[in-house]
Amino acid sequence: MNSSITKYLNTYSSAATLAFFRLAFGIMMFFSLIRFALNGWIEKFYITPQFHFTYYGFGWVKPIGNYTYLLFIICALAAIFVAIGYKYKLAILTFFLSFTYIELIEKTTYLNHYYFITLVSFVLLFLPANCYFSVDAHQKHSLTFEKIPRWNIDILKVLLAIVYIYAGLAKINSDWLFEAMPLKIWLPANSNLPIVGSFFNQNWLQYAFSWIGMIYDLTIVFLLINKRTRYFAFALVVIFHVLTRILFPIGVFPFVMIISTLVFFESNFHSTVLKWISNKLNFTAVYFENNKEKTPEYSFLYKSKILFLSCFLAFQIVFPFRYLLYPKELFWTEEGFRFSWRVMLMEKAGYAEFTVTDALTKKEIKINNSLFLTSFQEKQMSFQPDFILEYAHYLHDYYQQQGINNPEVRVESYVALNGRLSQKFIDPEINLANIHDSFQHKTWILPFNDTIDGL
C-alpha cells in the first residue's frame, strides 16, 4: 500500500463528529418522515395511485397497500434508533432498506435529496457511528472509542461535496447563466414577499441569483474545509438555504443541508453540542472520553471495506457524467438526468394525450389520463420520456385485458422547457407498445430544435 494512503488511513479524528452526525441525521429523518405522513402524502403517493411508475430494473418493487404505513413506522422507528445509537447496525440497515424501498415504489416522487439520504444511510452502514455518545456504547463500554480513523468522517464530507459541486457544475449552462432560466419564471412568484419581494421581477436580480447560486454551489465546500473561512461559509450556507426554503417548495432539503454541513466543523464543536445535550438530559457522558483509539486490524474484511467504499465514491463521481454517452440535449431527453444532483435546474412541463388503437379493427380510444393516474403522476409523466413509455405499456396491458386486439399506443405530446414555446415532444407515429425501455438512446423523442450550451 502506498505510504501516504497508509498514513491517511491511520490518521485519527474525534468520534464525537460522527456521533453528532448520527444523532442529527436520525432526528432529521424521524421528523421528515413525520412531516411526510402529516401531509397525507403516504396515502396520496403510495396508496391512492392504481399504477406506480418504477425505476428501470426495479419493476419488481411492488407497492404494499396499507402496509406502507407500517413501512413508514418501521422506517421512523429505525431513524430514532439510529439517533440514539441503539442496536445501531441493525437500525441503520433497517432504515436504509425501508427508506430505499419506499423510494423505489414510485418514481414520480423522485427527489435528489431522497437519493442523498439513501446514499448517506448506505455509507453509515459501514461506519462505527455508535462508538460514542450512543446507547450501544453506554451498554457495552468495550464498544466505546473516543477516536476513530478520520476517513469515517471525511467520507461524509465527500458525499456533501459531491452534491454541492455537481449541482454547481450543472448550473454552468447557457440557459441558467445567460437567460436566467428558470429563475426568471420562478422568482416573480415570490414578489409579494416583504422588502425583497419587489426585486424578484427585476432582470438583474434574476441573473444575480443565477450566477451567485452557481458560484455558491461550486465554492462552498472549499470555504467550509478552510478553517479561516469556515464561519463565513456556514453563514452563507444558512442564508442560502433559508432563502431557497422561502422561495421554493423544497421541503426539508435546506434543513438537511444546513445541519449536515456542521460536520465540517472542528470536533470540539461536536463534543460541546453533545455535552450540552447530556447536561440538558441530565446524564454524564464523561465515560465516552476514554481516550481509546479504534485501531483497525488490517484484516481482509477491513481492507475490502476500504476498497468497496473507495469504489463506491469513484462511482458517485463518475455516474453523474453518464449523460455524456447520450446524443441530444440532456434537458430535453433527460437521459442521465436523475441521480446527478441536477437540483432545481429547469422548468419543464408537458401535455400528453394518448390514443389506443385496436390493431385489427383500427378502432381508436382517446385516453383520459385522470382515469389511470393521479394528477401529480400525470404532471410528472407528461414531460419525462421514460414515464411516457412506462405508462404506454400500462395502457397496452390494460386494454389488451379489455379485449382490444394487440393495442397500439401512440401519444400526442408537447413539452415547454425553460421559457421556450411548447413543441411536439414524442414522435406521434410511433407505437410505444413496441418500444422497450433500455439504457439506449430513445430515438422516438423528437429533436429539441434549440441548443443549451454547457456542462
Partner: protein, 370 residues
Amino acid sequence: MKKILLLTVTICLLIACSSGDTSNGNGDNFDRTAMLTNWADNIIIPSYTAYQAKVQVLLTAVATFNTAPTETNLQVVRSSWTEAYKAYQKTSQFYFGKAMEIHYNEKANTYPTDIVSINSNISSGSYDLELLSQYSKQGFPAIDYLINGLGATDANIVSFYTTNTNAANYKKYLTELTTQLKSNIDLVVTNWNTSYRTSYIASNGNSVSSSVNITTNLFVKNLEKYIRSGKIGIPAGVFSSGALFPEKVEGLYHKTISKELLTVALQAEQDFFNGKHFNSTATGPSLQSYLDYVKAVRSGQNLSTIINNQFTAIFTANTNLSTNLSAQISSDNSKMISSYDAIQQNVVYIKLDMMQALNITLDYVDSDGD
C-alpha cells in the same frame, strides 16, 4: 460554540415553522384582487345576470305558447330559446361555487339528449329532474327536441301541444324544463350577489384552492373538454377512430345553431382571457395582462399575443364550417378536423405554456420539488 448552536437551532426552528403553507398567500406582485374583481364584477356576474334575463324571456314565451299554442308563439319560444342558449355559452366556464354544487352545466347542457326517455317522462308524467339519471332529459338540448324535433314542420310540432292526447303533459314538460333552468340560474345569481362575490375576491392567493387557480383551471377545462371535445371532437369522430357522430352535435334539432353556439363559446373564452367586460369593449386585469406582467415571452413574441393569434386562427378555420355542424360532418368532416386542430393548438398554448408561465398548478397535490 454555543452561539453557533443557538443560531442553528433557531434557524432550523424558523425553517420548520415556515414550512406550513408555502403556496398560500405569497405570489407575485400582480394585483390578483383587481383581476378577481374584474372577473367577478365585469364578466362573471354580468354574464350570469344576462343569461338569467334571457331565461326569464324564454319562460314567459313558453307560458304564452302554452296558453295559445300557435306557430307564431312557437317561433317566439324558439328565438328566445336561441338567445338563452347563446347567453348560457358565456357562463359555462365559471363552473365552480354554487354552479358546481347544483350541477349547473350538466343540467343545462347534456347532449345528445335522450329522446326515448324524454318521451317516456312525458307520457308517465312522473320524474325527478334533480336526479343524475335525468340530466340527459332536460336543459337546452331537451327543449331543442321539444320545440324543434317533434315534427318536420312547425304545424306538426304545434300539434303535439294541441291535438295530441298527451298535449297537457307536453306543455307541462316544456314548462318544467324551462322552470328548472330558471331556478338553477336564480340560485347561482343569488349566491354571487349575496355572499360568494366577497369570498371569491378575498381568496386572492395562489394555492390550489384559490380563486385564480380554480377559475383558470376551469377556463382551461372549458376550452379542452366542453368546446374542443364536446362541440367538435366527439361528433367529428376524433375520439372514435373516425366513426362520425353527426347526431352528437349541440343544437341538433334546431339544425343551424350549432356553429353559432361554438362561436359564442369560443368568443367568451377569448374575451375572458383578455378581461373584456361583458357587452363592452372595455378591458380590465386578466390572464392576458397577467402574462404580460410576468413578461412571458416565447419565441420573441408575447405569449398572450401567441394565444390571441391562435384564437384568430381558430375563427379563421371556423369560417369554413357550415352553420349546421351536423351537415358539415356528413358532407366534409375534414373542415371539422381543421377546426379541431386549431383549437387543440391553443389548448396546448393555454394549458401548458400559459399555466407554466403563471405558475398556476393544474389541480394537483402540493408536493416538494428538488
